[in-house]
């Protein structure tokens, strides 16, 4: 069965972890509007960070609040390597990452050009801006050490072999 492929909210890794830290400082729960006001963010900008963290299973949004989940708490309490490991584990669950892993594994050298990835993204998610999606995909993929991109060689590749079957439900031990 084909995975459900959701777009990635256009935001960066540092902002995602920054939001988790901020929530933890507030006792794990905060009102979305209050956060946007206090941070000086446009609401849409903050929502992208919240959606990204929710997609990765680090928080949830009951009512108008943002609630830090145990996985998010574990990520911010861990060192850099644990943060990266948890991020990677969560990325492996996302349809878009799984699809592109399959796509690259089927290719010779398990790599593609930027243009080929943009075409694939446009085909998969025609409503999204493929350039922006590529940027986010690469930022998250590099942090999770799943995808790499060599701009000199124009080569987007699987950073290491990772099984495209279902990730273990319990996540990392």
């Amino acid at each position: 069965m084909e995975d459900k492929v959701d777009p990635l909210p256009n935001t960066g890794v540092n902002r995602i972890f920054g939001l988790l830290e901020l929530l933890d400082d507030r006792g794990g729960r905060e009102d979305i509007y209050r956060l946007a006001d206090e941070l000086g963010y446009e609401l849409g900008e903050l929502l992208a960070v919240i959606q990204a963290a929710e997609l990765l299973g680090f928080l949830e949004t009951p009512g108008g609040d943002v609630l830090l989940l145990p996985l998010g708490k574990r990520a911010i309490e861990g060192d850099t390597n644990l943060k990266k490991a948890l991020f990677k584990e969560q990325l492996r669950r996302l349809g878009l990452f799984r699809h592109l892993s399959d796509y690259l594994q089927a290719r010779e050298g398990q790599a593609a050009s930027r243009e080929e990835i943009l075409e694939e993204l446009a085909h998969l998610l025609p409503q999204e801006d493929p350039e922006q999606l590529f940027e986010t995909l690469l930022n998250w993929g590099r942090y999770g050490e799943l995808f790499g991109y060599d701009p000199d060689e124009d080569r987007f590749y699987l950073d290491q072999l990772w099984v495209s079957g279902p990730a273990r439900p319990g996540g990392l031990d």
């Binding site: 960066g12 902002r15 963010y41 960070v49 991109y149």
Partner: protein, 245 residues
């Protein structure tokens, strides 16, 4: 003996007095923050510590010996990242090592170690144009740490970053500070944000408006990680703010 000591340091730029009789000792295992109003000479003070500019009068002592010229026991992290856009992340981090004469293999090994420490493994071949501000500052940190300075100097390292990214980078700096594999003995950070100084530093040095003089030094006696909801945390902020006001 202090790791780094300023003795009655003054600095004038032509008719402009930037610093006046600043005496300050930085001890081993100490994280010092320097706060003060805009234009009070905070960044000038940091550059004098790095030996990039000489004081007009007074002395800088490194482990008891007078400093003449560049202080090779320090490395600077800049507000504006100061990365070379035509070099990859790996090459930017190796840059300071090349200047210190390390062999290519050793440069690669050290750069890889600190790239890993700042969470940039996977970004080695990226160029600065591909990176967000937060990731650029991670490169800036890795480049500074790679030369294994005794004293890490940071000049408003988070002030070019948006609020959430700055939170994330402050946590990274605290992780690195606590990491026994990172051999930095002391850290001096210039900031205009009092809460940032109280969150990170063991001691906050408060400078006056230009010419910068030391008004007071406040020791922050709170265990890390510091809970910003505590009354004591806000007490330090109020105290420092009242000194600056």
């Amino acid at each position: 003996m202090a790791l780094l000591e300023l003795e009655r340091v003054s600095k004038e730029f032509g008719p402009l007095a930037a610093l006046e009789e600043v005496s300050l000792a930085v001890e081993e295992e100490e994280f010092v923050a320097i706060v003060g109003p805009s234009g009070c000479g905070k960044s000038t003070l940091l550059r004098i510590m790095a030996g990039l500019i000489p004081p007009t009068s007074g002395r800088v002592l490194l482990e008891g010996r007078a400093l003449n010229g560049v202080n090779y026991e320090t490395a600077l992290v800049f507000q504006s990242f100061a990365l070379l856009p035509w070099l990859t992340v790996q090459a930017n981090v190796e840059l300071g090592l090349e200047a210190r004469g390390l062999r290519p293999e050793e440069r690669r090994r050290k750069a890889a170690f600190y790239i890993d420490k700042v969470g940039l493994e996977g970004y080695e071949e990226a160029y600065p144009r591909e990176l967000s501000g937060g990731m650029k500052q991670r490169v800036g940190l890795a480049r500074a740490l790679a030369v294994e300075p005794k004293i890490l100097l940071m000049d408003e390292p988070f002030s070019s970053l948006d609020a959430l990214t700055a939170i994330s980078l402050r946590e990274l700096v605290l992780d690195l500070w606590a990491d026994p594999q990172v051999p930095v003995a002391a850290c001096v950070m210039v900031t205009h944000l009092i809460d940032e100084a109280v969150e990170l530093a063991d001691r906050v040095v408060v400078l006056s408006a230009r010419p910068g003089r030391i008004l007071k030094e406040v020791r922050v006696e709170l265990p890390r990680p510091r809970d910003k909801r505590l009354e004591a945390f806000n007490g330090y902020i109020d105290r420092i703010f009242s000194l600056m006001a």
